[in-house]
Symmetry: C2
Subunit: 180 residues, 2 copies
Amino acid sequence: MSRVALTPTAKIILGFLRFRPRSGYDIKQAVEISTRFFWGASYGQIYPELQRLERAGLVEVEQVAERRRKVYRLTAAGEQALVEWLGGDEGDLFQYRDEGMLRLFFSDFVDAATALENVRRMRAWRDEVLAFLRAEIEPHAQEDTDAGLPFPLRALHLGLAMLEAQRDWLADLERELTAR
Amino acid sequence: MSRVALTPTAKIILGFLRFRPRSGYDIKQAVEISTRFFWGASYGQIYPELQRLERAGLVEVEQVAERRRKVYRLTAAGEQALVEWLGGDEGDLFQYRDEGMLRLFFSDFVDAATALENVRRMRAWRDEVLAFLRAEIEPHAQEDTDAGLPFPLRALHLGLAMLEAQRDWLADLERELTAR
DNA sequence: ATCGACATGTAATTTGTTACATGATTAA
DNA sequence: TTAATCATGTAACAAATTACATGTCGAT
């Protein structure tokens, strides 16, 4: 019953190691092709956190005679900590910060053309991200589903639903602002 | 042409002072009833930032013979900096971090009942936030609209559209997971 | 040989929250 | 008189990004 609070980075590390053992480098790649649009992690967080988790006994190095790579795996304690977090009821951190939205909020202080241009950029950016998620991320999530792990694809679809709603709403506003 | 990069907190301060002069305390209250779901600010950021902005000449204290309050107003340079930011094309920071989404992503590693409970909590939380936004924030934004400032309400509606899309998608998943 | 990807790490800086500390004013 | 709200600030801590520093391996 150690009850060690996990840092956000620890959670993502333990989660990805639960799929299979990986190096810090591998974890970063995995984040980039799956969770990064709702949860990121940089090398500056991953490597120190792996060392802390090793000292805490939640992960250990799998020695595979590969000199230059340090492949980590979960220990029993690490797996338990992961499952405790997933089953716990800590309030989930939810942080949505959007500078475009802030510009939109203050757009009464600029001329109509500037406001419209900002809305257009916000919409265009969402189109880009949607295309990227469908082209680069969905195939990996689909593979997981085919392998019997449906939740990564479900998480992606929740993200797509959110972005599509924003894109559609912004496109409507774009038309409204243009129509005048 | 000072070209001073504004910190995120500076942007929100300048924006709210553009509506009308306020104290640091007032700015915090304004954030709480309007932007906090896409952009927050704590006293620990607001007060030091006001001092920096004053030294930089973007805001100044309006002396109103009120001993205990320091009411700030925009200077001409401050208003110019605000308009330059609003009209500029810096890439907008967009940060969406959602621990619930991370739990969802890793839910293949827990039993079906635990996964369902997490989805239910995510959906319930969105219902709560939607109710709060409609009850506590929308009336203020509506007042702005009535006063000829339509953008705060538009920004709120974009947020509502995003949360509704998530809520609906989560409710669908809840039914799917229950149905088995 | 040299370039790009692989790989690990640290340091500096930025950004933000929370807790602490203090005190004035107002309504019950 | 006392509790809540108003009001300003600092300090300690937490989290995250970016830049820096170093080196290996494989393909051309």
